[in-house]
Symmetry: C2
Subunit: 195 residues, 2 copies
């Protein structure tokens, strides 16, 4: 494993192993997922992986959270309309990407009663919703939305149509999908429906 030497320690190992985890999930799914394959793909020894992650599900949980966090940044433009559009547009890009599909496949395997890490991905999703809440609370502070707006309800209303199209009806989603979802969420928020 001489090629693994430069990756022996530090944040690069972590990044390489997490990226390899998403790639493995993307290509082979959860059922065929092994730490051996991830280690080989990342060019590290298996013990290096186990030193950082207790088991494959802990590794997957970390990789999914990292993928979501890196690819759906939380915007802060100063305008809630722009923030919601940016958030929805990042989600559209991510959900259509190989890593987004990999994350969703793991999560949906769970719902579908197939082998899957228990609730791992749902935690990742809930965490991302939680981190998006300041988009709403900042808008309330700026007086752009009613003071009693429930941020969780608003963010769920924003993202739901994108997940619905990507997963249930199987449509392709794009910036127009994102902007329409943002317009619906804004209109409902201004009408006080999330109070």
């Amino acid at each position: 494993m001489s090629s693994a030497a430069p990756l022996g320690r530090g944040p690069k190992v972590r990044a390489a192993v997490l990226a390899a985890t998403v790639d493995e999930l993307s290509e082979h799914g959860y059922a065929a997922f092994t730490v051996d394959n991830v280690a080989q793909r990342a060019g590290v020894h298996k013990t290096t992986v186990y030193r950082r992650w207790s088991d494959r599900d802990a590794l997957i949980a970390d990789a999914l959270a990292e993928s979501i966090e890196a690819e759906i940044p939380i915007p802060d433009t100063g305008s809630v309309e722009d923030d919601l559009r940016a958030l929805a547009r990042s989600l559209v890009v991510w959900i259509s990407s190989p890593s987004g599909r990999a994350v969703l496949a793991v999560m949906l395997a769970n719902v579908a009663g197939q082998p899957a890490p228990p609730d791992t991905t749902r935690h990742a999703f809930r965490d991302r919703i939680r981190k998006a809440l300041p988009v709403v609370t900042r808008a309330v502070e700026r007086g752009e939305l009613p003071a009693d707006t429930n941020p969780v309800e608003l963010i769920k209303t924003l993202v739901a149509p994108i997940y619905f199209r990507a997963l249930i009806t199987g449509e392709s989603v794009d910036d127009r999908t994102a902007d329409a979802a943002a317009a619906v969420a804004m209109t409902a928020a201004r009408a006080g429906l999330f109070g």
Copy 2:
């Protein structure tokens, strides 16, 4: 198979086989699904099944469509608000029921890259959305909604938050979820966002 004799022909056979199909999917999933098991559960001979359905995927497609059609009726109360609430409330009941979970598990197995009948369930969903469209077109005719309201967009906006909670965040859904979804869809429609 003497117990199968009364089910030898007629609409009762069809109903029994379709119900057995949903029950089998619900209990054992698509991967373990066989026409043999369905026939046994329904108390009919396998050849009786094959006389009506060409293969297991045709049988599943029919069973899923039937489950959705029976459990999510299309309302016509004379008021679009009441119709949308009724539609959302039926969806909430169905999505939380064993047969709803079975239908979704089959569909999501497909998305998750697990063995699944190709696109069968998506057809069933699209068909149900299509059949719900008169709720919107009747409302437009009654002058309750803007003349250029796109019925497909409105219905998708109505149902998306219910699917999102049931499948992605894993929350339980109830009448309040349904009514909130109906209020958001109505407000967006009246604001002309589906034009």
